[in-house]
């Protein structure tokens, strides 16, 4: 930002109310030592430090009632002298808020977590490296070699179909089966967010290579896929249940299972490969409570924390915590379908060009 601009903007703030700016920061220097500590007394050190700091703030995209509230209760039960509060927003909002706080050097968050938070925070240069021994319980492919993020929960993507509108023998079982003329105008996908259409496009590009993928997209565009413009992947599944769209592409594979258990006419169908992503956790630069931040990060990745997420219908990243039985059938390894893990790094490299493909062919 150039100086004149900075001045105008500062004037704007002064117009709003005139008062002196109180400087923050100062602990950033030692934060690095705390967050990257491998010391044998690490546990003791961060616990004592967190108790001195007395509070920690989590920004998360997880559901409040089933996940954030029990997580907060459990954390404060275990560490009564550290007061934990949370703010819930979507990934894009978390990043907007974090980057605004970072620019103003007025950082409220200590830890941020959500699907896509890792890649966007890394891209924006908001994240600082941290070490937690708990990642060792996670499969290697879900870890960040640069230590900027850790995986908190997994998501698997599939199609959802209405079982009354799509007879069992006609359910498309592969991406190519979606090109059958009978599905023209009957496929819908979630438009306008990174975890919607671009993820689908990116997965096909990585699985088939750009050239073959381009041919596939041409044919898919001829199917006149319906752009579902607002609302979440979950509400798109609800529209499939209502019979509005027979098939939805690229939805969270476990959502249809939850509704199916209640008797709804919906199911999910995995396709080779099954795209998967990780919800990721970062520690922003310049935070006020580094001890408490790493204590909370440890807690979320611990068996206890992961169990709370599993109880809230998420898929844990630890191999030693099982997801809910009712949801396990869509885990690619169990279903015998290959998984394609889209790491934050991969998504960062592909999303922008995938968006361009969508703009050109599907809008």
């Amino acid at each position: 930002m150039n100086a004149a601009l900075a001045l105008t903007r500062r004037l704007g703030a002064v117009l709003f109310a005139a008062a002196a700016l109180t400087a923050t920061g100062g602990i950033a220097a030692s934060a690095e030592n705390i967050l990257l500590s491998h010391a044998p007394d690490r546990q003791q050190m961060i616990l004592e430090g967190a108790q001195r700091e007395g509070q920690v703030v989590l920004y998360s995209a997880a559901i409040v009632n089933q996940a954030l509230r029990p997580l907060t209760d459990a954390f404060m039960k275990k560490y009564p002298s550290v007061k934990m509060t949370y703010w819930r927003g979507d990934t894009e909002e978390i990043i907007d808020k974090l980057s605004a706080e970072e620019r103003a050097n007025n950082i409220v968050a200590d830890v941020a977590e959500g699907t896509g938070v890792g890649e966007l925070a890394v891209k924006a240069g908001l994240a600082q490296p941290y070490y937690t021994p708990l990642v060792e319980a996670m499969p290697e492919r879900y870890r960040d070699p640069n230590g900027l993020w850790t995986p908190t929960r997994l998501s698997y993507f599939s199609i959802a179909y209405n079982t009354k509108l799509v007879p069992p023998d006609q359910v498309p079982k592969s991406y190519d089966a979606l090109l059958d003329p009978r599905w023209q105008g009957k496929l819908a996908w979630r438009f306008g967010t990174a975890s919607g259409t671009p993820l689908f496009i990116t997965a096909i590009r990585i699985a088939r290579g750009d050239e073959k993928a381009a041919a596939y997209f041409q044919k898919l565009a001829a199917q006149k896929v319906i752009n579902f413009g607002a609302g979440s992947a979950r509400t798109l599944v609800d529209r499939v249940i209502a019979g509005e769209f027979p098939i939805a592409l690229n939805i969270f594979a476990h959502h249809p299972l939850i509704s199916k258990a209640k008797g709804a006419p919906v199911d999910s169908q995995l396709m080779d490969p099954v795209p998967s992503t990780a919800g990721t956790m970062v520690i922003p630069k310049g935070i006020r409570h580094p001890y408490a931040a790493i204590l909370l990060a440890d807690f979320i990745l611990s068996r206890e924390g992961q169990q709370i997420l599993a109880d809230a219908d998420y898929f844990p990243t630890r191999s030693d915590v099982a997801p809910k039985d009712a949801l396990a059938s869509i885990i690619p390894q169990r279903a015998g379908v290959p998984e394609l893990f889209l790491s934050p790094d991969l998504l960062n490299r592909y999303t922008e060009s995938s968006e361009k493909i969508i703009e050109k062919l599907f809008q």
Partner: protein, 579 residues
């Protein structure tokens, strides 16, 4: 700014204007303008910045560029989007104004049985969060909705209606606009001296002709205010274009532009900023045109020193027809969407309306709702937010509107400033305010106060349009009389203008209250941990929840808003009667 000589017809007017013109720009105008500037300039600066600079990955501004403005006009879909936007804006504003005016005429000027229900209907519809309102209409008119089921049953044709079209968009947005029109028109009609109508009828005009040639003509400024509001609203609206338009492959400017926001994976508000800056220009033109219209203000001044009682037209047996019209509108605007939400809220999942589905009804969704968290924690914050916003906006805009209508030097600026936020798209306004508060020296970031300030700015235009239409009706001779009797200006405003404006102000307060408690995008980024407001919870359900849970939340919300509005109505009715 000149006062045209034709306006100087009333005795006393000359004195008053002469007195006001003595001072060049009144200090009061300066103070009000300063407050408005302080509120509006910071987010507006952000919009300008964002439209003129590259946004770097960390959200800061990079090099100067005009490419967003170029991109805006060279978008592949620009021409078709612009045409669609115009159709949609005209269509929805027309539908909203026609239905709302008919409702208001019947409710205020005839002896139709049950006419008081119209007020209730408007308030209930305003209480429905907009996004739920759209969902309800889609559940109703969608491919698997009861309307299409019925068409197929009766006509035996597989082809039903397709709601994912321009007319579907206009209908849904237009019907959603009806409560605004109704409340404003009925306030205007209530305060209108009917002696002109009586004269027309005495001169042999039929009541219908008198309505058409006199009443409606006199309400022109109100209709213009509504047209402005409805038109710009459609230009800025997002829910209907995104949910209805996109699914039918109909692009309007907002959807084309919002697509650009997340195109690169990182949020980039450049094009959205450029779009809203262009809209500021369009609105300035519309306001200029409206301002010219109000130069002939004396034509529309219907509140004079004479006492009057609004004329209630005895329709005889025809009143049952108007009752049927009113009931029909009540059904369409309020009952049907609310009923479909209520039905959905009882379902474990929504699979169309059928007896089979009725058998699956349970209160499970409400149990989730009333459990710890979702509803209870945020309710107090939400009511504070709505009441504080409305209580600030309403008297503030009343004062501004009065000064504008009285053509106090410099006051036209107040109108432009207070109306400008109408074109700031909610999505980008929240980012702008985030930027303002997080950088502010005062520790307001994350507090409820910051949300109140932001929503005051957002809903200022609504307050302004309501107060403006009301103020335009007041003939200056009352004020002139008070001035001659030696009343200071503050007393003049408080004791004469405010009471005369009551009908408009009550509508305005309710509208601002109901809008500010349900707005979603704005508070989301501004609240901090632990100071959630209701709409944020609602938004979370919208993002992660199931349609059925969302519907139960909506129904509970509508019930609560109905209670709040009814209490408010009962409390203020007494005052209105006194005024």
């Amino acid at each position: 700014m000149t006062v045209q000589s034709e306006a100087l017809t009333a005795p006393g007017m000359a004195n008053l204007t002469a007195m006001m013109r003595l001072r060049t720009v009144s200090p009061l105008v300066i103070v009000l303008a300063a407050i408005l500037l302080a509120l509006i300039v910071p987010p507006a600066l952000f919009l300008i910045d964002v439209s003129l600079h590259e946004t770097l990955p960390d959200g800061s501004f990079g090099a100067f560029t005009l490419r967003f403005y170029r991109a805006l006009f060279s978008e592949r879909l620009f021409v078709s989007s612009a045409v669609n936007t115009l159709l949609y804006a005209f269509g929805s504003a027309a539908i909203g104004i026609v239905i709302g005016t008919i409702q208001a005429l019947i409710a205020e000027r005839t002896n139709t049985p049950g006419r008081k229900l119209a007020f209730f209907a408007a308030v209930v519809s305003l209480g429905v969060p907009h996004i739920l309102y759209v969902v309800a209409w889609l559940l109703l008119l969608g491919r698997s909705g009861p309307v299409n089921d019925l068409i197929q049953l009766v006509l035996h044709s597989p082809q039903g209606i397709n709601v994912y079209s321009i007319w579907g968009m206009s209908l849904i947005e237009g019907v959603g606009f009806v409560p605004f029109t109704f409340l404003l028109m009925s306030a205007v009609l209530r305060a209108m001296d009917t002696s002109f109508e009586e004269a027309a009828i005495m001169a042999g005009a039929s009541p219908l002709r008198a309505f058409w040639t006199v009443t409606l003509r006199m309400a022109t400024p109100a209709v213009c205010a509504l047209a402005l509001l409805g038109f710009v609203r459609a230009f800025e609206s997002f829910e209907v274009p995104a949910l209805v338009g996109l699914a039918g492959n109909i692009n309007v400017l907002t959807t084309t532009i919002y697509q650009a926001v997340h195109r690169t994976g990182m949020a980039s508000y450049g094009e959205a900023g450029a779009y809203s800056i262009c809209l500021v220009g369009i609105v300035a033109l519309l306001l200029f045109w409206q301002n010219r219209l109000s130069r002939q203000a004396h034509k529309y001044q219907t509140i004079t020193g004479k006492s009057f009682r609004p004329r209630i037209l005895d329709l005889g047996p025809w009143r049952y027809l108007t009752a049927a019209v009113l009931t029909g509108l009540f059904l369409i605007v309020t009952i049907v969407p609310v009923a479909i939400l209520a039905f959905t809220s009882l379902q474990p999942f929504y699979e169309g309306v059928s007896f089979e589905a009725l058998g699956r009804s349970s209160l499970d969704n409400y149990r989730v709702l009333l459990g710890p968290g979702s509803f209870r924690d945020s309710i107090v914050n939400t009511l504070i937010l709505g009441a504080a916003t409305a209580t600030f906006v309403v008297p503030f805009t009343a004062l501004c509107a009065w000064l504008v209508v009285r053509r106090v030097p410099g006051a036209a600026l107040l109108d432009h400033l207070a109306t400008m936020p109408l074109v700031f798209p909610a999505l980008i306004l929240s980012v702008a305010f985030l930027d303002v508060f997080v950088n502010m020296p005062l520790p307001l970031y994350g507090t409820l106060i910051s949300v109140i300030i932001a929503s005051s700015v957002r809903y200022m235009p609504y307050g302004m349009r309501y107060a403006y239409s009301g103020a335009l009706q007041i003939h200056p001779d009352l004020e002139a009389a008070a001035t001659i009797a030696g009343a200071p200006r503050a007393a003049l405003f408080r004791r004469i203008v405010m009471p005369l404006l009551t009908a408009s102000l009550v509508s305005s307060w309710l509208v601002v209250f109901l809008l500010s408690v349900q707005v979603v995008a704005l508070p989301l980024l501004l609240v901090g941990p632990g100071s959630e407001v209701m709409a944020v919870t609602l938004f979370e359900l919208w993002q992660n929840g199931q349609v059925t849970e969302l519907a139960s939340m909506g129904v509970a919300w509508i019930a609560l808003m109905t209670v709040v509005s009814t209490v408010f109505h009962l409390l203020t009715r007494h005052q209105q009667l006194a005024a």
